[in-house]
């Protein structure tokens, strides 16, 4: 089957809805968009067995051919991209369905769906591309869609600003990625995955080449996957409609960085320094975001920082060389984080666009379905035994333990923080008493079936996601399905982990106890004691620091934005106006003044002219004679 169909369908949806959506009935728009994402999902499923045999490669088309450089449009569906495709289209379909209800009252309904389809299109290019250029196309394309969707409610200038911030931050990462591509071309002469990776596998270049390419690609991943220092755009990106946050900023786009690193497994295995960098950046991001998440009161902001933190965890896995573990966590995270975002969207919808958890409480009675599914999501992310998050996180922790104990310690700490901020949010939202004076409790309503259905599907996935990659200790016959699935793709493969079974059980015990501590503590604090998160003005010290996100935004502002703006103003006002332009004008004035001086010689005194003429004639004759 032609892989281009997978891309063509969402693009078709974008075109139809973009051009004619205004005239079409809303239901048609939504149904069309959803089905054009769902069909690729089904198609990808049918390709399962084929891909299992060998990667499907599409007919290439020339994009650029200059000198020796030949860059093609070329798609490739292998085991890795198949998983990504299924996640993207599967969760994408659910979110499209959800959006049909969530966005029902929005004037830009058709526009929203056309953007969503465009996003799916770009995301599929990203994961299906058979060379780095296609990846870059998708990479920038999803950035663009993210920009459009964050700024979807563009009449609010803050939202527009957030969109711009996301795009520019991503662009900084893209710069790194682009420079990485330049280096790849310079040293390996191509961008095609097969060529480049087989060249790299020969290890014929000095170490610094691998390290610098790996670091540059990782800079791209930093931007897209919101790692320190380029993470600040993601929380702001919550300005977009909630389904967007679920689809783009939790489940799919932000994991592109992880995909890139997994895809370039050969490179990163050969560049241990770059991998160490990834490990430390991931660790730092995970902890920082988890800390900030502790004191956020906007339901979506908590989830956003949670996403950053979980992405950090994935990069920790990558840094340890546990590629399949990272992919596993990527998949389960896509399930439960999409679930949580959609659940929060359901709450926001039911509360009529209230996002502050301090103004919620006791919603479990009003929104039972949302409550149950949200609970499942929370349990899954916090590592409740035998839910999806438990398995995926444990595998990462196992690798960190093998890597070094202190990394393990910090990762466990981060995982514990996850439980704490998630349960804090959960209890504040659904338990306790209702705290909103402006919106009567009676008016809070459960969301329509179109919204709760995706919630239930995702809840089921969150419950059972662990089946993807069950650990050894539970079953021997079906264990590590995902790792085995991906194994043929890797040249060097996952870092091997050899741990005694007893140690493994001990680590499990640690993980479970961390979860229990978090649960009990938070329940005690917010359900039994019935405390409410403090208002901004009551905060002090560390709480304030956390609530203000360590003032990183302010820091960036005064470190980069302000100086750049000042530089821009200075360049124009001083350098350009008072410098170059004034200099030119000065030249003009000097000429003018000189001209006036010279003009005085033109006195109109004919006699003088005559005398000068005669003298000049004499002079010329004299020169002719005697020179």
């Amino acid at each position: 089957m032609n892989l281009y169909i997978l891309l063509a369908l969402p693009l078709l949806g974008f075109t139809i809805n973009g051009l004619f959506g205004k005239q079409l009935p809303k239901f048609v728009v939504g149904a069309l968009a959803s089905s054009l994402v769902f069909i690729p999902f089904v198609l990808a499923l049918t390709l399962w067995s084929e891909v299992k045999e060998a990667a499907i490669v599409s007919q290439p088309f020339t994009f650029l051919q200059v000198g020796d450089l030949n860059i093609e449009f070329k798609l490739m569906l292998d085991r890795l991209s198949l998983i990504m495709t299924l996640i993207i289209t599967g969760i994408g379909t659910l979110i499209h369905l959800y959006s049909m209800a969530y966005m029902a009252d929005d004037a830009g309904y058709y526009k929203f769906f056309s953007y969503l389809n465009l996003f799916i299109f770009n995301m599929l290019i990203l994961v299906l591309g058979a060379n780095f250029m296609m990846l870059f196309f998708g990479w920038e394309g999803v950035g663009l869609c993210s920009y459009l969707l964050i700024g979807f409610w563009y009449h609010n200038p803050d939202f527009g600003y957030a969109a711009r911030k996301a795009f520019v931050m991503n662009r900084i990462g893209d710069l790194g990625l682009l420079l990485g591509l330049f280096m790849i071309i310079q040293h390996f002469g191509s961008l095609d995955y097969q060529v480049v990776f087989s060249e790299i596998a020969k290890v014929s270049h000095p170490q610094w080449v691998y390290t610098s390419i790996a670091v540059l690609l990782f800079v791209g991943a930093m931007g897209k996957s919101a790692q320190i220092p380029l993470y600040t755009w993601l929380p702001d990106a919550m300005a977009g409609p909630t389904p967007v946050s679920a689809l783009i900023h939790a489940a799919t786009m932000v994991t592109a960085g992880v995909y890139l690193v997994v895809r370039s497994e050969v490179l990163y295995t050969l560049a241990p320094m770059a991998r160490d960098l990834i490990l430390y950046v991931g660790l730092a991001t995970s902890l920082l975001a988890a800390f900030i998440g502790l004191k956020q009161n906007d339901i979506k902001k908590v989830l956003a920082y949670s996403t950053v933190s979980q992405l950090g965890l994935m990069f920790i896995a990558l840094g340890c060389g546990a590629y399949s573990a990272a992919m596993f966590h990527l998949a389960t995270h896509a399930f439960f984080k999409a679930l949580l975002f959609l659940g929060s969207g359901s709450v926001i919808h039911g509360m009529h666009h209230e996002q502050d958890i301090r103004k919620m409480g006791g919603l479990r009675k009003a929104m039972p379905l949302t409550y149950v599914t949200f609970l499942i999501g929370t349990l899954a992310i916090s590592g409740f035994p035998f839910l999806s998050g438990f398995f995926s996180k444990d595998e990462i922790l196992l690798h960190t333990f093998h890597h070094s104990p202190w990394v393990y310690g910090l990762s466990v700490f981060s995982a514990g923080l996850t439980g704490i901020y998630m349960f804090r949010m959960f209890f504040l939202t659904f338990h306790g008493t209702y705290r909103n004076d402006h919106y009567a409790f009676e008016k809070v309503h459960e969301s329509p079936i179109l919204m709760t259905l995706p919630l239930m599907v995702l809840a089921a996935l969150s419950l059972s996601g662990g089946l993807l990659n069950l650990p050894h200790y539970l079953t021997h016959s079906h264990s590590e399905a995902l790792a085995h699935w991906l194994e043929p793709l890797f040249v060097f493969g996952d870092a091997a982990v050899h741990v005694e079974p007893s140690t493994e059980w001990a680590l499990l015990g640690v993980a479970v106890s961390v979860f229990v501590i978090a649960f009990v503590w938070m329940r005690q604090k917010y359900v039994v004691q019935g405390r409410v998160a403090e208002n901004d003005d009551q905060m002090s010290g560390s709480a304030k620091l956390l609530a203000h996100k360590f003032y990183v935004d302010e820091l960036y502002d005064s470190l980069f934005a302000k100086p750049l703006q000042a530089l821009g103003t200075w360049t124009y006002r001083v350098l350009d106006r008072k410098g170059f332009v004034a200099f030119t004008d000065l030249m003009g004035k000097v000429t003018h003044w000189k001209g006036q001086t010279l003009a005085r010689i033109q006195s109109g005194n004919i006699e003088l002219y005559l005398i000068i003429m005669v003298l000049a004639a004499a002079l010329m004759l004299g020169i002719e004679l005697f020179a």
Binding site: L598, A599, R600, I601, Q602, S603, G604, N605, I606, E607, Y609, L610, I611, V614
Partner: protein, 106 residues
């Protein structure tokens, strides 16, 4: 040695006409009365005529003398037009000095 000019060297005619020319030039430079200016110009023309004639005779070429003839014709025309202009200028300005003609002043 039958005629005068065979006893006179050509150089003396050259000196003579150069002197006359310079005197005329001095007049052009020095005087302000437009009529006198015109007269000085006539003087200069005549000095040139004299030289041409002398050279023509010494070279035995009639062309030089015919040029003198043409110069006279042109001088006559010039004098007529020049004086007409002067008359008109005088009518308009009651003046025949040349420094009122300062429209060239920059």
């Amino acid at each position: 040695m039958n005629t005068v000019f065979q006893q006179v060297d050509i150089s003396h005619y050259i000196y003579l006409s150069t002197v006359l020319f310079s005197i005329g030039l001095f007049g052009v430079l020095f005087r302000r009365n437009a009529i006198v200016l015109l007269m000085c110009i006539e003087l200069m023309l005549n000095s040139v005529n004299l030289l041409l004639t002398a050279l023509s005779t010494y070279m035995g070429d009639a062309g030089g003398q015919l040029f003198v003839f043409f110069i006279m014709v042109v001088a006559a025309a010039e004098a007529a037009v020049g004086l007409a202009i002067l008359v008109m200028v005088y009518r308009n300005t009651r003046n025949t000095t040349v420094n009122f003609l300062s429209n060239l002043k920059g």
